[in-house]
Amino acid sequence: MNTQTSPGPCAVRVVLPPHLRTLAQVGREVEVHVQGPPTQRTVLDALEARYPMLRGTIRDHTTLRRRAFIRFYACEQDLSHEPPDAPLPTEVATGTEPLLVVGAMAGG
């Protein structure tokens, strides 16, 4: 995994879990545009700006902390515990790989 980032706006691919696809009325994958190096925070900001109905479903409205049973994966790595401002892998920044928003294996 390379965490180098490319300058300028990036088109980041995001894969949503099925319930959030239904909520946002989108397919498996969406693309959002991020200014500067993409991070969890900037990608989610862009995602929520484009799909306001997703606000509060991935991270808390106020604290912006990831909800407990949401995970972020990319490039076969679990990024859930990375700081929200850490750069995402280059493969995500270049659109080669998507950022996966995943509902954790929990619940019933």
Binding site: H19, M53, G56, H61, A68, F69, A104
Partner: protein, 371 residues
């Protein structure tokens, strides 16, 4: 011809059951929001096409959905429930202070007169109001802030505000109930609040007659007599004739006075219904017999209603918001079970039949009487 629309919230989605006024043939629509917990959905008395729905899961949190066409289509509206100011603490199960944390919306109560105004009772217990059709929510923080909030404790199901009663005679009067804090009343449209638990007695708390701390399960009111309130408490069925200023027990000859649901006949304000549940550790009907009990005397004297209900090997529960009455000339009753059945009676409870038998566990049942 008039008809009814029964709104059913379940552990895995919402269902809408519709029938004409005979209430014999039913059309089932759903699941809406399949896979999500639907704690409650309720229609606006001022505009029956307007329905509000509380949708949540542990994964994705809380959503509020609104329909403007009687449940055919839905739009997600505002889902930010931010406590007013510094939330402070209530008591945790171990007696330590615990910060107020929003978990979910248990109950939505649309205004009697304005389709865009709706109240939300939430866990951790607080009351919110929206005046813009659910787009934004503001806490009526005088309830949590009136003084006793730091002593409130959660019941087994969480510290939820589950009952909201709006007084049709006086728009300033709102009554709410919280497990396990008790009942509270505002006479100024939610600005200030006070406990109204005098007469309640709960053996499960250190002072059985404490001002707060009672596990009220549900309260029902007949719109023609807003001062008469009927309460199913954790144990005990209670009645108030003075808007909650004082309560007296009316359990009478019930086989058990534990239960969750309680409601009042649409046209007979002294006719009350409960569904006795064996105990707080055995959440099923006594003797495996599902019986609705009806009092035509405002309590104390109760008769079992069994025709059409399972009278053996039945071990389901009926939750607090899972019983409703319609306002057709012959009053209809509806209740849903944790076994996924929704039963209906078109004759004030004399006879019953299932509308559906195999839904996910039912959390709530409301009914709209349509012109």
């Amino acid at each position: 011809m008039s008809g009814v629309r029964v709104l059913v919230g379940t552990r895995k989605g919402a269902f809408i059951l519709t029938s004409d006024g005979r209430r014999e043939q039913w059309e089932v629509s759903g699941p809406h929001f399949g896979g999500w917990e639907i704690y409650h959905l309720k229609g606006s008395p001022a505009d029956p096409s307007r329905i509000y729905c509380s949708q949540s899961t542990g994964w994705f949190g809380q959503l509020i959905q609104r329909s403007d066409d009687g449940g055919a289509t839905w739009t997600p509206v505002g889902n930010e429930f931010a406590y007013d100011g510094v939330p402070g603490t209530h008591q945790w199960y171990d007696g330590t202070p615990h910060p107020w944390e929003f978990a979910r919306v248990w109950h939505l109560e649309p205004s009697l007169t304005d389709p865009d105004t709706v109240y939300a009772g939430v866990e951790d217990a607080a009351l919110f109001r929206s005046g813009d059709g659910g787009q934004t929510w503001q806490e009526l923080s005088g309830l949590r802030g009136h003084g006793s909030g730091p002593s409130w404790q959660p019941g087994a199901g969480g510290m939820c505000l589950h009952t909201i009663l709006l007084d049709p005679r006086d728009p300033g009067r709102i009554l709410v109930a919280i497990s396990a804090a008790g009942a509270f009343r505002s006479d100024d449209a939610g600005k200030t609040w006070r406990p109204i638990n005098r007469g309640l007695e709960s053996e499960g708390i250190p002072d059985p007659q404490a001002e707060v701390g009672h596990c009220v399960h549900h309260i029902a009111m007949h719109p023609s007599r807003p001062d008469v309130l009927f309460m199913q408490k954790h144990w005990d069925v209670m009645r108030s004739d003075d808007g909650g200023e004082s309560w007296r027990e009316i359990s009478g000859d019930l086989p058990t006075d534990f239960g969750f649901a309680i409601d009042v006949h649409a046209h007979e304000p002294e006719t009350v219904y409960v569904i006795p549940i064996k105990s707080d550790s055995e959440h099923y009907p006594p003797e495996g017999r599902l019986r609705v009990y009806r009092s035509r005397t405002g309590g104390d004297e109760w008769e079992p209603l069994t025709k059409g209900l399972p009278q053996r090997d039945c071990y389901v529960n009926v939750l607090r918001d899972a019983m409703a009455v319609d306002t057709l000339e012959e009053c209809g009753l509806y209740f849903g079970t944790t076994g996924g059945q929704v039963y209906a009676s078109a004759d004030s409870g004399d006879t019953w039949a299932p509308i559906v038998r195999d839904l996910p566990p039912v959390l709530s049942v409301e009914v709209q009487t349509l012109p």
